[in-house]
């Protein structure tokens, strides 16, 4: 992004870097990158006021493709990293990104506690129901009967329901988007960022290579089928009849975010020694 751009009205391309994505041609994550850039432009934030944090996976490569400050950490720990960053630097807008394996398998505990802690973060999970980066193993959201080398008979395990868990754990904003609809997804991202507290967006983002059948998602998703509510019980009821293909905002609550007292103390560090003097 050029110096001049900060003065003019920002456009999505201001939020993209010139690093070439390693993604397979046709990967759903391209659309998520586009939607993020659109959302950032709509919000009018400067790229350097934004930080994009991730773990490891194809989807987790996204930070370097934005023009924002980025952090590409270790597998499964994006949420704590984002949490630490936001608590220490409340002035930044922090977006945490990653995949279904990163977020729900190895990172599941942090997902639970991030929802509960309700720090003002936006968490975008690119769900392709597979481990793309390690070449096609089942993730928690993989359908029970999907077969793979590692699970030749399918997993035999019920799928994980991220939105249900997010609700039960206390996320303040819960939505589902689709990479094939970057404008709709950008709308959701804008709303998520603007809603204080922990916002969770599940994005259906096909893995063209290991789950080519997901190309059909563009036919099976139902736009705007989730209706936004601030009533937790209502939201929970919607989730019970959800088959994973309904798009939109499910829940937007009003729980005040966890705000750290950073920067508010008045004592000089050296004065702390007083209590030890005899």
């Amino acid at each position: 992004m050029t110096e001049a751009a900060t003065a003019t009205i920002p456009v999505p391309s201001d939020y993209k870097s010139n690093v070439k994505p390693v993604w397979c041609p046709g990967c759903g994550d391209f659309g998520v990158l586009n939607a993020m850039a659109k959302a950032m432009a709509r919000l009018g934030l400067r790229p350097e006021e934004l930080a994009v944090v991730s773990g490891i996976g194809c989807s987790s490569r996204i930070p370097a493709y934005t023009a924002c400050y980025g952090f590409h950490g270790v597998h499964g720990r994006a949420l704590p990293t984002g949490t630490g960053l936001k608590l220490a630097r409340p002035d930044l807008t922090v977006i945490v990104t990653g995949g279904d394996g990163d977020g729900y398998s190895i990172g599941g505990n942090h997902f639970l506690h991030a929802c509960r802690r309700n720090v003002d973060l936006t968490y975008i999970v690119m769900d392709n129901r597979v481990y793309g980066m390690t070449k096609g193993q089942p993730s928690p959201t993989t359908e029970t009967h999907w077969t793979s080398k590692l699970a030749p008979l399918g997993t035999g395990i019920n799928e994980f329901h991220p939105m249900a868990i997010a609700l039960a754990a206390g996320a303040n904003f819960v939505a589902r988007g689709f990479t094939g609809d970057p404008n709709g997804l950008a709308d959701i991202i804008v709303q998520a960022i603007e809603t204080p507290g922990f916002s969770f967006i599940e994005v259906l983002s096909p893995c063209i290579t290991f789950r080519p059948e997901q190309k059909d998602w563009k036919k099976t998703v139902r736009h705007g089928n989730l209706s936004s509510t601030a009533d937790l019980a209502l939201a929970a009821r919607q989730i019970f009849s959800d088959d994973g293909m309904n798009l939109g905002v499910l829940y937007a609550g009003a729980r005040p975010p966890y705000r750290p007292p950073i920067g508010r103390g008045r004592v000089a560090a050296a004065d702390l020694a007083a209590e030890f003097r005899i």
Partner: protein, 586 residues
């Protein structure tokens, strides 16, 4: 050859006054042993003595038997003495469990209520004389009177502690509860009255006033050092014996405008502080062995992505859950070599209670200057010992990071600079946005699988640590001669005292106590050991981790050997002195 007990610390063994006296207060749960111990410690401080207190308790979570072990001296003390001079029991229930920790001097005294029976044989067979004190009866006569306070009054008199100091200390600890305070003062006086007029165990008068002294635990000193060094963000998960450090830090950080977050686990702790530090706010976590083990993957990330941070490991007995309440220097291996891949980082160790402050502060300064993680190896002994120490010197070391300026042209986060340190852009800095990465990367930070980038970045990360000038703090070096002892951490106290017990010993023995363990300043160590032809490495673990590490990376004198002892029980100066005599004699 003199036996080490013959050369014990007490300058005039037969005399009425001693320069150091050790007291163990024991009793069952609720007997008030810890309260009494804390008052005694503070009274000693008020009276101008140096002192040290450690605690022990039975296997019960709460309310089991307890022991407060206190050493009072006219000179600074960094370890317990070989033997206790006084064993004072409010009662004797289950206190035989402390037998291994409380070895009584043959000329010692056992004080207890005859109504509670005799002290367990494991104690009395030392030959110590039993001094009966009808605690229950005396306490009963005082409204609200408690046996522990009667015992304390007696003890203070026995040791020759000024009455004023004791009253002052009691007021300071019980001041918030006036009724309890009043009853306690009466009980103290009653105890004092019951004491023999001419006690055999009296301290020499204190040499100076307490003006420039602190009463502090190692955990508190570590916390203070970290904050003074610049830490403003702490994320941690409770674990014994690091919890008190966190509990001290929580309000202290808030008061200076920082924040402490309790994380869901250690994986979250370490990554939260990585996030904070990436954001420009110096950060720390504290844990013990099991937690450190969970952090090593992400410590590697901090190495690769060049994120400054400090991890304090208050070591306890391992492996695995081990003995959470006992000390050991067994995490040296994991601290030095526990990261996968070639991952150079900093490892430091404080060598005394007060030194925890300086070492923590230095760790923050080094981590920030070198953009690398620093592990501080404290331990349960240092962390939980409460000591009267000379007010610590301020090392004037503060975290200062090389930051990228606004609008840096062609900013390269991982630029291959001569000293290996490259400017870090703090989020918010216009024109310097980059992505920090744990994948191997080019100078710009873009992931690269080219061997050439790997070689270059590995070199950069090693270089910045190796080229740094660590100054004189890397070790405490004392004495001269062709014999030398190298040690670190809480083993330093007993080693130093052992050497002090051998004044004019031939051959003279040097002491090198390492504060910086990695990167090991090899040249400085060679200098420090110049002319040494016989070396002994002393440490508290079973496998000789420091010994093998030094052999591996340094050029040690050909005659190098190892003295080690597993954790669970600290070295005492006498056993080390004994070993030194044998070792230096052959």
């Amino acid at each position: 050859m003199p036996h080490p007990t013959d050369i014990a610390d007490n300058t005039s063994p037969g005399a009425a006054q001693r320069s150091s006296l050790s007291v163990a207060l024991v009793g069952s749960g609720g007997a008030g042993v810890m309260t009494a111990g804390n008052i005694l410690l503070e009274a000693a401080a008020t009276a101008g003595y140096y002192a040290l207190m450690t605690r022990s308790s039975g296997p019960q979570i709460r309310g089991g038997e307890a022991a407060a072990m206190i050493r009072i001296a006219t000179h600074p003390v960094e370890c317990m003495d070989d033997r206790f001079h006084v064993l004072a029991g409010v009662d004797w229930e289950n206190v035989h469990r402390f037998a291994a920790e409380i070895s009584l001097a043959p000329d010692g005294v056992i004080v207890g209520d005859p109504g509670r029976g005799e002290a367990p044989l494991v104690f009395s067979r030392s030959g110590a004389a039993f001094e009966p004190l009808p605690l229950a009866r005396i306490a009963k006569e005082i409204s609200g009177g408690r046996a522990n306070m009667v015992l304390l009054g007696y003890l203070a008199a026995l040791l020759g502690l000024p009455e004023d100091a004791l009253r002052q200390a009691t007021a300071s600890l019980l001041g918030k509860r006036p009724a309890a305070l009043e009853a306690s003062l009466v009980a103290l006086a009653a105890g004092r009255e019951a004491a023999p007029a001419a006690a055999r165990l009296v301290l020499e008068p204190a040499l100076a006033g307490p003006a420039a002294r602190w009463l502090v635990t190692g955990n508190e000193a570590t916390g203070l050092g970290a904050i003074v060094g610049g830490v403003r963000f702490v994320a941690a998960y409770p674990i014994t014996p690091a919890t008190e450090l966190l509990e001290w830090l929580s309000p202290a950080l808030a008061s200076v405008g920082g924040v402490l977050v309790q994380a869901e686990d250690e994986l979250a702790s370490i990554n939260m502080i990585i996030g904070s530090s990436f954001g420009g706010v110096p950060a720390l976590t504290a844990t013990s062995g099991p937690g450190l083990a969970l952090m090593t993957e992400s410590l590697g990330l901090a190495v690769a992505a060049e994120i400054p941070l400090v991890v304090v490991d208050v070591m306890r007995v391992g492996p695995s859950t081990g003995i959470p309440t006992k000390s050991e220097q067994g995490d040296l291996n994991i601290a030095l070599c526990g990261l996968h891949g070639d991952a150079p980082h900093l490892v430091l160790a404080p060598n005394g209670v007060a030194d925890c402050l300086q070492t923590a502060q230095w760790a923050v300064a080094l981590a920030e200057a070198l953009q690398a993680p620093a592990i501080v190896l404290a331990d349960q002994f240092l962390g939980q010992a409460r000591a009267v120490v000379d007010s610590p010197r301020d090392p004037r070391l503060y975290g200062k990071r090389l930051c990228a300026a606004v609008g840096s042209k062609d900013y390269q986060r991982y630029e291959l600079t001569a000293d290996g340190v490259s400017a870090m852009a703090i989020p918010g800095t216009v024109g310097a946005a980059y992505t920090a990465d744990g994948l191997e990367h080019s100078e710009r930070g873009t992931p690269s699988s080219q061997a050439a980038d790997h070689v270059a970045q590995l070199g950069k990360r090693r270089r910045k640590l190796e080229l740094h000038d660590y100054g004189a703090l890397w070790a405490d070096i004392e004495g001269a001669g062709e014999f030398a002892v190298v040690t670190f951490g809480s083993s330093t106290g007993p080693v130093r005292e052992a050497l002090a017990r051998l004044p004019g010993h031939i051959p003279p023995i040097r002491l090198v106590s390492l504060r910086l363990l990695a990167p090991l300043p090899r040249d400085r160590l060679s200098e420090a050991l110049a002319g040494v032809h016989k070396l002994l490495v002393i440490e508290q673990n079973e496998s000789g981790q420091l010994f093998h590490y030094l052999r591996g990376v340094a050029d040690l004198p050909p005659e190098s050997s190892s003295l080690r002892k597993p954790g669970g029980q600290q070295f005492n100066p006498g056993e080390i002195a004994q070993h030194l005599i044998e070792w230096s004699g052959t």
